[in-house]
């Protein structure tokens, strides 16, 4: 019936699902905090439990991503570019994938962060997750952006958020540098293979912030077009 009426003209909005997607993604990456807590406590059953939860959230995000892609066929007239929107979605989804990879790798090897680095690592991790939260905050402005026709003050608000996101990412970079330096100082006392993987995990955690920054960048491109 909707087909022969004016309301068939209105397609389903992609904005709410996009916002929901990043909320799930952030929830997923946030699981890494209790996960690493469990690892530090060497409570591997608890860690496995959290990883399962994290993996479930990652799957939820995947389902939503696929659904959103299917609901966004060509031939829609949108205030933003369809390709930009899908690219943004892909970037968002990568955060969840990365979080899942981190948890999987750490749990698989029962990898321990050296005691002397634990406090520092935890600060670094939280900061990287801050970045994903900031990205989510910016994405959550999309419905307000729509209200204001993607211009004016609301765009400035979002741009401010993206700048803050960039600042957080810079922060994580410098945290990563010191973390690596401190690891370098003690690495000869550790199992070489573990050290290899530790570097990798540090890298990957940093990727969370990088990806969050890229979400912000895609959002900026989305706003700049048209």
């Amino acid at each position: 019936m909707a087909r022969n009426s004016i309301l068939g003209v209105f397609a389903k909005s992609p904005i709410k699902p996009l916002e929901k997607h990043i909320q799930i993604v952030v929830k997923c990456s946030k699981q890494l905090v209790p996960f690493f807590d469990a690892c530090v406590a060497q409570d591997w059953t608890e860690a496995a439990k959290i990883r399962r939860k994290l993996s479930k959230l990652e799957q939820d995000a995947d389902v939503l991503k696929r659904q959103l892609r299917l609901e966004l066929p060509g031939g829609l007239f949108m205030p933003v570019d369809r390709a930009d929107l899908l690219e943004l979605l892909t970037q968002q989804d990568k955060i969840a994938n990365k979080a899942k990879d981190i948890a999987g790798r750490v749990l698989g090897r029962k990898l321990e962060v050296p005691v002397s680095l634990q406090a520092e690592f935890s600060v670094y991790l939280v900061r990287c997750i801050d970045a994903t939260e900031k990205a989510a905050e910016a994405i959550n402005e999309l419905d307000d952006l729509l209200e204001t026709g993607f211009r004016g003050r609301e765009v400035e608000i979002v741009e401010k958020m993206i700048n803050q996101l960039d600042a957080i990412e810079d922060d994580t970079d410098s945290l990563q540098i010191t973390l690596r330096k401190n690891l370098l100082a003690i690495e000869k006392d550790l199992n070489p293979v573990d050290v290899m993987f530790l570097y990798q995990i540090i890298d990957w955690v940093g990727d969370l912030a990088d990806l969050a920054e890229r979400v912000g960048a895609r959002l900026e491109i989305l706003l700049a077009r048209k």
Binding site: M1, A2, R3, N4, S5, I6, L7, G8, V9, F10, A11, K12, S13, P14, I15, K16, L72, G75, L76, F77, M78, P79, V80, E141, D143, D144, L146, E147, T148, G149, F150, R151, G152, R153, E154, I157, K226
Partner: protein
């Protein structure tokens, strides 16, 4: 000629029944398009929409439907051609009604978007051009009407674009959107009230024998509009706002104010729809009645019989009451991100365009005018996603409707000729 003298009343009754049925179809089907945006954006419940539609469709049909009715009745066809054979015009008009009503029925059953305007114009042109003679059609007028079908969605799109952008400037892109909304929304109400009242006063009230001068017309329209705005302001003042959402970046409260505005634009939309689309049902009927009443003489200047406009109005209301709520209910669900601030811009633009067209006696499609307005808001980056496929269907449907309406009407015309002559 004899046929009109002998079975004139039968023909009038047939025309009245089909005309009523057509009006009923417009009410049952088409009104959903006029009211759907209001229901879809959550500004009105289905019950409220039906009540508003009933009152304002009837008011629009009765108060401002006269001009379009006379276009349908005698504008498309060159009446001088039928002076010696008025019965052909009577048969033709009844056939056109039959054709349009049949097509409306078939198309709604199949779920196709159709315009009653296009089917009736196609039908009238069809029987006259093919059934009688190509010269029987006033082609210049037809060309004007078809041209208006292209231009009116465009105009309403541009108006919607301007209205939406003005709302952005005045309300959304400010420090205190809520205060700005409270201040400016009554102005939009004034605008809606003014355009509707002006067209009604200048064009609609003729058949009620009320003649009001130009200056007086403007004054009365302004007074009506001020009353509308004051009533609106009163209801806005009574709104309860969620203080938690009152932060500058959250537009929930602002949308509540626009919700009140949307009730006004929904009334305007129903009025506009009634004023333009009632003619599709009763224009041909009016032609039949006028010929029969004048015993077969085609009067160049004759008023529409008093009972015809109300008949059309009642037909629309009856259709609404019986089927309308079902139609509106099915379309009212599952709409996301059509907030009142967009809906009002589209509705206000479409209603103004349609009412002005009604005043000018142009039969246009309400649905397409509204689609044009929606695209205008979309151009202003105001709507999350517009289904261009559906827009294309709606455009294609009117291209198809013309030949189908014409074909059906030619068929019915020959059938009636065979039966009565």
């Amino acid at each position: 000629m004899d046929i009109i003298l002998n079975s004139g009343s039968t023909l009038v009754i047939i025309a009245a029944v089909v005309g009523f049925f057509m009006a009923w179809g417009i009410g049952a089907n088409d009104v959903a398009n006029a009211m759907g945006t209001s229901v879809g954006s959550g500004a009105l419940t289905i019950k409220q929409a039906i009540i508003i539609a009933m009152v304002f469709e009837f008011a629009g049909a009765y108060l401002a439907g006269g001009e379009v009715t006379s276009t349908i009745r005698k504008g498309i066809i060159d009446a001088s051609y039928f002076v010696d054979t008025p019965e052909l015009l009577v048969f033709g008009m009844i056939s056109a009604l039959f054709a349009a009503a049949t097509w409306l029925l078939v198309a709604s059953a199949l779920g196709w978007p159709v315009s009653t305007t296009h089917s009736i114009v196609g039908a009238i042109v069809g029987f006259a051009a093919v059934g009688v003679s190509v010269d029987a059609v006033t082609w210049s007028k037809v060309l004007g009407i078809v041209g208006s079908w292209v231009i009116t969605p465009l105009i309403s799109g541009i108006i919607a674009f301007i209205i939406f952008n003005s709302a952005q400037k005045l309300i959304f892109d400010t420090d205190k959107p809520l205060q700005q909304a409270k201040r400016w929304v009554p102005l939009y109400m004034f605008l809606a009230g003014f355009v509707l009242a002006l067209v009604t006063i200048k064009k609609g009230l003729k058949h009620l024998d009320l003649h009001i001068g130009t200056a007086d017309g403007f004054i009365y329209a302004a007074i009506t509009a001020v009353i509308v705005a004051i009533i609106g302001k009163f209801f806005i003042a009574r709104l309860k706002f969620d203080e938690n959402a009152a932060k500058a970046t959250h537009y929930v409260n602002v949308e509540k104010v626009f919700g009140v505005l949307m009730i006004v634009t929904a009334c305007a939309m129903a009025f506009a729809h009634g004023s333009n689309d009632v003619a599709n049902a009763i224009g041909p009927l009016a032609a039949v009645v006028s010929i029969v009443e004048n015993n077969g003489h085609i009067a160049a200047k004759s008023a529409i019989a008093w009972w015809i406009l109300p008949l059309g109005g009642f037909g629309i209301v009856a259709g609404l009451a019986i089927f309308g709520h079902k139609v509106i209910a099915t379309i009212g669900h599952g709409i996301t991100h059509l907030t009142p601030s967009r809906g009002f811009a589209a509705e206000l633009a479409a209603a103004c365009t349609v009412v002005i067209a009604s005043g000018a006696g142009l039969p246009i499609s309400t649905t397409q005018t509204l689609v044009g307005a929606v695209l205008g808001v979309g151009m202003a980056r105001g709507i999350a996603a517009i289904n261009l496929g559906v827009v294309r269907n709606i455009v294609v449907s009117w291209v198809i409707t013309l030949p189908v309406g014409a074909g059906l009407s030619i068929m019915f015309f020959w059938m009636m000729k065979g039966m009565f002559m």
